[in-house]
Amino acid sequence: MSNNSILVIGGGFSGLTAALEAAEVGHEVFIVEKMPYLGGRVAQLKHYFPKLCPPSCGLEINFQRIKNNPRVKYFTLAEVVGVSGGPGNYEVKIRIKPRYVNNNCTACDKCVEVCPVERNSDFDFNVGKTKAIYRPHLMSFPMRYVIDDQVCEGTSCAKCVEACEYQAIDLEEKEKEITLNVGSLLVATGWVPYDVEKLTNLGGGQIPNVITNMQLERLAAPAGPTDGKIQRPSDGAEPKRIAFVQCAGSRDQNHLDYCSYICCMASLKHCTYIREQYPDAEVVIYYIDLRAPGRYEKFLNNIQQDEKVLMVKGKVAKIEEEPGSGDVIVTAEDIMGGLKVEERFNLVVLATGMQPSIAVEDLALDVAKDDQGFIIGGEEKGVFAVGCAKMPLDVMTSAETATGAALKAIQTVRR
């Protein structure tokens, strides 16, 4: 008799969708998420296209479904460390890192006031800071604080323990390992932003006023490090001329050898963020092809109405900092729209692509991947990849793959 339960690795939009679809037809589902919160990358966006809803909108609905469904169990700060067995009968070992903050946490923030240690916020892609004990983010689910043990001073400090009125902090919590028995596995490990440091000709990670599209999401997010104000990192100035460099690392055999699917749409969306704050700012988008497939065309049409947004076909060859002003000089191929070869901007956004997270950090699961790290097999083993672990996709299509794969997983465990 096969085991009826399903394990979902990764609790982003794809993983949540797959888990809920399977649970709502009666299967027990476990979500294993390595971050201290569920929601994945979508939680980091200000809005998501096409409807420009805040991410909490779609995510909260799913969290509500989790709360009301006793069949869904989730583990944060958790990773799969070993898988044995076969379809219908897997044994999965999970390592759960200590959070150091238990269920008692009421999110009162008192600990943060006293903690002496600061760290760069990975959630904000280092444009912001948090203390060593921190709230993962404003709408974090679960709403529970967490300690970064790489920087925390530990029991010798323990200031937070003293400040916490609710006995929520245990600095001596230890790592745990648990074993789960499941019939099928869904891999929803999603993506990481491509490492801009590798884009040396584009000033990636070198020039302060050259940021990534995901950093822009955090700068524009109301609960982000600048309370939603889009400003230049170097001096906090309001940008008046902004460039977007499309395919930064994507469609390039030296970097990501595929198109990342969403970054054209993301930059078009970012034009709405800029326009909301700066009615007069000029924007130039350097692109190879504007990929707004299917019904997204309408979104492109709307942005094309904006006279101060110029879309220029051409590949950017070089990006340099102008000494003194903090401005950035973009050198592009000589292209159609009558722009000079060199243009000066206050802020440049690299539309970097999505790289499968397991290309960067391997998964303890034997499943075929292509040369880029996308999962291309597993069906025969009752292992199904969904969302951006399978191919670069937007949220809507990711969710569709998740629903489809949930059905396949159900078929596997019902056999």
Binding site: Y258, L407, R414
Partner: protein
Amino acid sequence: MADKKIGVYICTGCEIGENVNMEKVTEYIDEECSPAVMKQVPFLCGKEGLAQIQNDIDGEGVNRVCVAACSPRVMWDVFDFGPDVVVDRANIRELAVWSFHDPGLPEPEEDEMSDPLTMMVRDYIKMSVAKLDRKTKPEAEPIELDKTIMVLGGGLTGLTAALDTAETGYDVVLVEKEDKLGGFAAKMYKQTPTKHPYEKAEAPSINELISRVEANDKIKVMTKTSLQLIKGAPGKFKATVKQGDEEQVLSIGSVILATGWKPYDASKLDSLGYGKIKNVVTNVELEQLAKNGKLNRPSDGQPVLSAAFIQCAGQRDAEHLSYCSSVCCMGSLKQAGYIRELNDEAKAYIFYKDMRTPGVYENYYRAAQDDPGIFLTKSEIQEVTEGENGKVLVKVTDNLLGEDFEVEVDLLVLATGMVPTIADEPVLKLGYRLGEQIPDLDLFDGFAD
């Protein structure tokens, strides 16, 4: 359910106690609602707080609990006292204490009035108690549901849906109006790549899918069948279908709409030569020519040694189809391959606005770029005219070089778009007062919302 007995538990932790005049709150609630039990607890979600509530449930018979504390977004798992106790959360923390900014109003003159925050808190609690007082525990009334699923349309989508539904254990009725299954996929010569490395067109997989559907004894296939009417409700539909002259009523639980698409009416594209020049065809027609092994010039049956493809022939154009059809860039890359297959010297030109091969399909685009017989360029079409000997002249402006040029080809292919079948036909035939279609916000140019 036994008599209602309401307990109100007010948390004084999380800055609530310090900021709210609890005496006024409890006095007011007592007077207005007189709950059976009312307590202030310093840390309600902690062990002791929860134990107090549980004690009152066990000892006093409290069966309705107002938790006046934090948002139901948090601690939802903690305030759960089993199926017989109804809990309501009066969110006085997030909605009042944490979000309230003192507007600096003058002190209330009348003594019984409270400060604004205290008034908010007592009102939230009063509302919660009112809710608990009126709420009855819902009793499920399970009804027998029909578990058969009807799939409407037997193209690739409908076939896949039918097969997956059957393999999950449900009975399926597959209704197809034509005499054959497969939809457009069955009319294709080849299909674009479906597997890594996404570089080569493949033999169509549709026939295998059709055989699997036909061999599955959970799927009842009804071809040449039309849907007449759907009545009833989810889980309890009655669908009238007509096969030949015979009508039957099927009991079904759910409907999957998979009626696909129709090609855009190419007669509206006469400016691109369609209908006027013989050797101008649509991508749909080309697919059929290739499938039938007759990829020759329609005018005289001569071999095709060169072909041009005009992308977005109608799509992305407010006068025709305002959306992008998503598949036609891939389709033309595939069809350029058909032309190249005919003859080593054959040439294919693809004139596009943007090459839309998103995601992993980039590989297929790259493979075409690597083929010296395929020319791809971003361009604007100036004019399509008939040349000598049945040739078609296409004049374009190359957007990259800013130059006009002209090609003379044996065949011009218009990459036309797809229109959803449901755009102008009431496919679902719902017998509802609201109309035969599912009411739609019409956000998506005729596609289902």
